[in-house]
């Protein structure tokens, strides 16, 4: 059990690191965000099933729903940036200043 936790937590932390540290494309941040969501989902499902918290069985589903929404918003922002600047380079966002 602790091994499982080590595995999943390190997956979560690595994805988190990937969200925060990336080089140029905004898309890589969003992909790591999805990774965070995935590891969170697995942790929650396994813990709840092991500990028989019946009333919280709905929680992973809700997590999925909200993760889908957030992915959609993230992609919409990506598309807006891409519409304005042509690529999703993150340095575009403060390049045009005098």
């Amino acid at each position: 059990m602790p091994l499982f936790f080590l595995n999943m937590f390190s997956a979560y932390l690595l994805s988190f690191l990937g969200v925060l540290l990336y080089r140029s494309h905004l898309m890589s941040s969003l992909l790591c965000l999805e990774g965070m969501m995935l590891s969170m989902f697995i942790i929650i499902s396994v813990v709840i099933i092991n500990l028989h918290f019946t009333l919280t069985f709905i929680m992973p589903i809700i997590l999925l729903v909200f993760a889908a929404c957030e992915a959609a918003i993230g992609l919409a922002l990506l598309v807006m940036v891409s519409n304005s600047y042509g690529l999703d380079y993150v340095k575009n966002l403060n390049m045009l200043q005098c």
Binding site: L17, V19, L20, L21, Y22, L26, S29, V90, L93, N94
Partner: protein, 602 residues
Amino acid sequence: MKMFASFTMLTIMILIYPIVMTLSSNYNIFNFPKHVKTTIKSAFLFSLIPTFMFIDKGYEAIITTWHWTIFQTLDISISLKMDFFSMMFVPVALFVTWSIMEFSMWYMHSDPNVDRFFKYLLLFLITMIILVTANNLFQLFIGWEGVGIMSFLLIGWWYGRPDANTAALQAILYNRIGDIGFVLSMAWFLTNSNSWELQQLFITDHNNLIPLLGLTLAATGKSAQFGLHPWLPSAMEGPTPVSTLLHSSTMVVAGIFLLIRFYPMLENNQTILTTIMCLGAITTLFTAICALTQNDIKKIIAFSTSSQLGLMMVTIGINQPHLAFLHICTHAFFKAMLFMCSGSIIHNLNDEQDIRKMGGLFKTLPFTSSALTIGSLALTGTPFLTGFYSKDLIIESANTSYTNAWALLITLIATSLTATYSTRIIFFALMGQPRFSPLSPINENNPLLNNAIKRLLIGSIFAGFIITNNMDPMNIQQMTMPWYLKLAALMVTVSGFMIAMELNNLTYFLKIKSTSQQMKFSNLLGYFPSTIHRLIPNTNLMTSHKSASKLMDLIWLEKSTPKLLALLQLMMSTLTSNQSGLIKVYFMTFLLSMLISLPFLI
């Protein structure tokens, strides 16, 4: 005495008979125009008998024939009021119409639908007689609408011409605006007097402005007063007999006749009298100014009619309805004759209506030109011709009554302008060298034409005298006045003649500035049709277009919620954000602060 009612009914029945019989199939009249002319001649002779009875014995009657309907508390029946006004007007109208029918037998003889033309003219005459003999407002309204419809059909007689169709529609529209006033008055009388009979309306002391304003609006529409006047010159698109009958003698006086009928209600209300007088004064001056620079002979005479109608309104405004009625009767004679002379000129010059292309007709059309001259002299009020008996009396009464000095001054100016434009017609059409193509054969020897004009000529000279001597004096005239007031009309008329002849002779020797501002103002009728005919429909259509598409569709369906929300969000975010877009720096800060706080968490 029992002949009175029967002769009145006989007059009306004779006129209705040809119309009704055209519905049956075995009514084969070989020469329908001549039949109609004979009908009207006999109707005229029959109508003289009640008139002579009235003149001799003062015999008036109200003939109620058919109880039509009861509408809760309102009785409507067919009742004919044969009093001074209707009994003097009906013979005059029938006499003038008789001459017009004879004239149009000559004028329209080559028209393939001449039978229908005469039927329309006869229908018009019938509705006009219904109008003047009506004792209740419902019957008057029937006659009112009837003359409007016949005017439409007759103005648009040559319906292939778009100008004629436009003019007919214009006549209907302007008359309709006047009808609003008429219906308003009818509704007011219905709710406040519970009757449409004239006797009951005059008994009650109403002293309210609303119905009188409605009647004034109706007269403005029908009699082409200022504001609703453009239809009358446009109505000259119809054939000359139509202009002669409708738009000089009979239909356009219907509005004035309505106000004359209601004189017991008008004479107690000084406000409405002043309104009527000012309206008439503006009309008479404005249309006289417009008549000065027109180039179509029929339009000049139409404006002359309009100016005389304004004069009749002024007469009503100084509380002299009987003088106005006298002017209606005398005006019918010489104005009809002027139109017929112009019709003779037009036909003889091969349908040329522009006075700049006429000239030198004194020698070639002697009878027509003498009739035109006498008609113009009668129009301007030459002493002891017909027009003098009504027009001079009007100007005298206006001069000696306690009235609006501005309106009086305007009326005097318009009187002098009457002489001016009459001189213009005579100068351009009759005098000088001919300016028309010499190929049209000029022949005025047709007895139909000559007899018609001769009859009206005798009427133009003597009718004023005859009618005045057979009328009872209804108002005490002011007999004594200073000599300059007594001769005021004559002096301004003579000065108008002299100025006009001087100006006309100037055109031979001096070159004047070709179109001055005043000339443009006068020729384009004061820019009234140019602005009003475009402004009002354009405004209405643009308003409806904008409100339908822009207001309803665009704003409510598109812009009120979706685009408004997007705009608001954009505005708010640009206003409130002070971020600078340095995302990697922000993420790095986040990571560092997490790492620093990690030992404290674990």
